[in-house]
């Protein structure tokens, strides 16, 4: 049995094989890892275990492969640092390992306070320590969107791959990484699945059991009909059923002005086939205009990104939806604290302050129809509309992604009615402009804070009213 420790140019490497197995806690003690096995699953698991580790001393460790693994696992090469097959590789391995080690010393020790923040920081750290390596998407049949970013994917499950795109979008908006366009993809609006079966279907019954026929126009007699009208057993080629003459030369005595489809399921005829996409993951069957479009980029670190990695940066509010991050959403606790102050103010100053709620009644139906992604965009647009109506003393709280609460100064009824009508008008415009065909049902409620002893009570009262 070979020794598990190998010294190369005064650097100590641990050799992992099927015999030694993998103990990630021990890896910290070495300068690098050599994986000596031709067993692809073992190699794959070893690399993923190291790269998934939460401690930078483990997940940034240089990994070299002692055997060739031709495309056995697409992530193997992306997550390893090279090969160590011959002694002549010593210099290269040692040099790479030292460079990585030097870079790790420059990293900031700041720890993001969310799982997504940690994933972004981990990927950026990895890119930085590998000479500003470019984050490359790989076609991946095991990823739900069909692409994976190995450096990011280690922090996510395969079905969470779409969230990687959200996280990368956030990092891009914060100028930590710079995108370079590779591909635009369309994914399911429910589960973000990228494996879609496109089908042409009948616009009436949605069945794909259809067939199309060319329409043939016979110039001399003005007959038009499906091409099957022009074929019969008596004559070879095309023969006009009206004037009983042969139809010979397209463009001369006939043409094909269009195509007509027939549905075998509902027996209707139409020309405008609908294209629908069935998600192979969640079985959602959706019209293609409702599919969610995502961009697949390669990414490289920006100077701001490098600065953030070395000097530390605050990763806040890492929700799964990068769009919401920009809106400075406040939590329920914060909202209640602010309401408490308003309650006191209304009692001491005898000011009339209201608490309003606007809720989307049919949010589940809309989300199902539009898909989660587009629904969130709709909510964001509504959020912006309400936020624009508020003055600096008023604040907005979004609950469960479909109910807005906000305080309102001045005469309650008057201002509430005006904001309600203004909001409804703008909502109607929004629907017509951006979401035609979608029916949005809103529920408007309000109470006076003067009647409540604190913010919690006021919010609960309003929630009861809403229900």
């Amino acid at each position: 049995m070979q020794s598990p420790v190998i010294v190369i140019d005064n650097l100590q490497f641990v050799r992992l094989s099927l015999e030694t197995g993998l103990d990630t806690t021990q890896i910290m003690a070495y300068d690098g890892v050599l994986i000596d096995s031709n067993d692809a699953p073992f190699v794959q698991n070893s690399i993923l275990s190291i790269r998934r580790h939460h401690q930078p001393e483990v997940y940034l460790k240089p990994i070299f492969l002692c055997q060739n693994h031709p495309s056995a696992f697409i992530h193997i090469h992306a997550l390893s640092d090279g090969q160590y097959i011959h002694d002549k590789d010593n210099t290269l391995v040692a040099s790479k390992t030292r460079k990585i080690f030097q870079k790790t010393l420059e990293l900031s020790e700041s720890k993001p306070n969310s799982a997504y923040g940690a994933a972004i920081k981990k990927a950026l750290d990895y890119m930085y320590c590998r000479e500003n390596r470019i984050l490359q998407p790989i076609l991946d049949p095991f990823s739900i969107i069909g692409y994976s970013f190995p450096e990011m994917s280690v922090s996510f499950e395969t079905h969470e791959e779409a969230q990687i795109l959200d996280a990368l979008d956030w990092a891009e908006k914060n100028e930590l990484i710079w995108p370079d366009f590779q591909e635009k993809i369309y994914v399911c609006n429910q589960c973000s699945g990228g494996f879609l079966s496109y089908r042409e279907v009948c616009p009436h019954c949605q069945s794909s059991h259809t067939y199309g026929e060319d329409l043939v126009h016979h110039f001399p007699c003005a007959y038009i009909g499906p091409i099957s009208d022009f074929t019969n057993e008596k004559h070879e080629g095309l023969h006009c059923p009206k004037c009983n003459k042969g139809v010979h030369h397209i463009g001369v005595d006939y043409d094909k002005p269009s195509v007509l489809y027939h549905c075998n399921n509902c027996d209707t005829k139409f020309q405008d086939l609908y294209v629908k996409a069935k998600c192979l993951n969640c079985k959602n069957d959706v019209e293609v205009q409702y599919l969610q479009s995502r961009t697949i980029n390669t990414y490289k670190l920006t100077s701001k990104g490098r600065h953030a990695i070395t000097k530390g940066f605050e990763l806040q509010n890492h929700t799964t939806d990068a769009h919401f991050i920009e809106r400075d959403l406040i939590s329920e606790d914060t909202f209640i604290s602010l309401l408490n102050q308003d309650c006191k103010r209304s009692q001491i100053e005898e000011r009339s302050i209201g608490l309003m709620a606007i809720s989307i009644n049919n949010h589940q139906a809309i989300a199902k129809e539009m898909g989660n992604y587009r629904f969130k965009k709709l909510v964001l647009e509504l959020y912006d509309i309400i936020a624009n109506e508020l003055n600096p003393l008023e604040y907005l709280y979004l609950e469960q992604g479909h109910t807005f609460y906000f305080n309102q100064y001045l005469g309650i009824e008057d201002s509430f009615i005006s904001i309600q009508s203004s909001f409804q008008e703008r909502l109607n415009q929004l629907i017509i402009r951006n979401h035609s065909g979608i029916s949005v049902s809103m529920n408007y409620q309000n109470i006076s804070l003067n009647e409540c002893k604190d913010g919690r009570e006021a919010l609960n009262k309003l929630k009861t009213q809403l229900n």
Binding site: F219, P220, A222, Y223, I224, P257, S258, L260, F270, D272
Partner: protein, 435 residues
């Protein structure tokens, strides 16, 4: 003053013999045919109406009992702007069991977008677009190919229809089961827009509407208007639908008659259309219409005048009447003028003035008298009275001259085959095959 005295002397000194010599054209051809005969037929029609009432009620009952599917075909190019109004007009129909088939014949405006939207909203049952224009006949035939109804109603997209128009026009098929086609009562909607539109409204009142009542009664009704016509589907299938135009309305009527179907006019089925609002547009329209008399009556369907196993005296009479009154008399009028000029040179001003008065009086009397037979007109009769003197010029000179030009163009140059109304690719075949 001297001229007036001489004119009065000319009128008062005229005996019957001289009168018939000077004004035989008016007396024989205009007065007898278009006044006396029509009045007689109208009186007969009015008188016998009560006897047909029970039959009409039976037809009405049968229609509503059977509730046949009616296929409404609307072929057209660049008609998108009219389609929504048409659909609304059809939604108000008392007879609801119809399918609406719209054929877009290669429009290059937003017709396709509008129609697809209406189709998506269930306001059109079948919309078929041909990317390449094939002509009105082919578009109508395409609609016919996919029509499922027992009856087919052909409409123009720019027309609107009275709420009971479909019911009234289809009812005729149950009144007489030998009827293969029915023409609707087309009226001018924009009669106040221009002088030429007003003249046409009067023309539609008299020569078209009233004239068609009498020709329908006589069994010689010739043209089922493309703006509003209904057909028995099996009859259309039998004749292979429409042939290449222009003039396909008259052509299909003849084709129906030739295979033994009756063709009727239904004044109660009312359709409103916009008439050409300038003399130039009207002249173009009439040149197209008038050419079809030569093309279809004298060329394509000349066999109607010849003995054959399908010979019909009614069809023969219809053709002869059409040819005599529209073609022969049109040229005869010029001979009449020459005759007067050469034989009564000194009396020419008096004869022309008397002719003008006779025609004007004839128009007034006819217009007012025939009002009793005029059905379903909402327009005030008084509105048109000031325009009646102008009708002499409109009928006697403008339309006559247009007709003459059309006949010459068609007889000598077969101009209808060059009419851009129909695509060249079809017209050249029609010409070669004498269609």
């Amino acid at each position: 003053m001297e001229f007036i005295d001489e004119f009065l002397l000319f009128v008062t000194s005229m005996d019957w013999e001289k009168f018939s010599r000077y004004f035989y054209f008016f007396v024989i051809f205009e007065f007898l045919r278009f006044f006396v005969v029509e009045l007689f037929v109208l009186l007969l029609w009015k008188f016998t109406h009560r006897f047909r009432k029970q039959r009409w009620e039976k037809a009405h009952h049968e229609l509503w009992t059977r509730m046949p599917l009616v296929s409404i075909i609307v072929p057209g190019k660049n008609e998108g702007k009219h389609i929504y109004k048409l659909v609304q007009s059809l939604k108000e129909q008392t007879y609801k069991n119809f399918e609406l088939i719209v054929i877009d014949d290669g429009s290059d405006d937003d017709t396709e977008r509008i129609c697809r939207s209406l189709k998506k909203n269930g306001m059109i049952d079948l919309f078929i677009r041909n990317d390449v224009r094939g002509g009105k006949a082919s578009a109508a035939n395409l609609g016919l190919r996919f029509a499922k109804g027992e009856f087919v109603v052909h409409l123009d997209a720019d027309c609107s229809y009275w709420p009971d128009a479909i019911e009234k026009i289809v009812r005729v098929f149950y009144f007489d089961h030998r009827v293969g086609g029915v023409g609707g009562n087309v009226q001018v909607r924009n009669y106040k827009d221009s002088l030429v539109a007003t003249f046409q409204a009067i023309e539609y009142f008299d020569s078209i509407s009233i004239g068609r009542i009498s020709s329908s009664e006589l069994g010689i009704y010739r043209v089922i208007s493309g703006a509003f016509g209904a057909f028995r589907k099996k009859a259309l299938d039998k004749i292979g639908g429409w042939d290449i135009g222009p003039g396909l309305d008259g052509d299909i009527t003849v084709k129906l008659r030739k295979i033994g179907y009756k063709v009727k006019y239904e004044p109660d089925a009312v359709c409103k259309t916009n008439a050409p609002d300038t003399f130039k547009k009207l002249a173009n329209q009439r040149l197209r219409w008038d050419k079809s008399l030569i093309r279809f009556r004298l060329r394509k369907h000349f066999d109607v005048l010849l003995p054959s196993k399908n010979f019909s005296w009614l069809n023969f009479f219809s053709f002869v009447e059409n040819i005599v009154y529209n073609l022969v008399l049109n040229f005869k009028w010029y001979f009449y003028i020459i005759d007067i000029i050469f034989n009564f040179t000194s009396l020419l001003p008096f004869i022309l003035l008397t002719n003008l008065l006779l025609y004007t009086i004839n128009f007034f009397v006819k217009f007012i008298l025939f009002s009793a037979f005029r059905l379903n007109h909402k327009e005030p009769i008084a509105y048109f009275i000031p325009y009646l003197p102008g009708m002499v010029i409109y009928f006697g000179y403008f339309l006559r001259f247009t007709r003459t030009v059309a006949y010459f163009q068609e007889i000598f140059w077969k101009a209808s085959y060059k009419d851009p109304w129909n695509p060249e690719k079809s017209s050249k075949f029609a010409k070669a095959m004498k269609l």
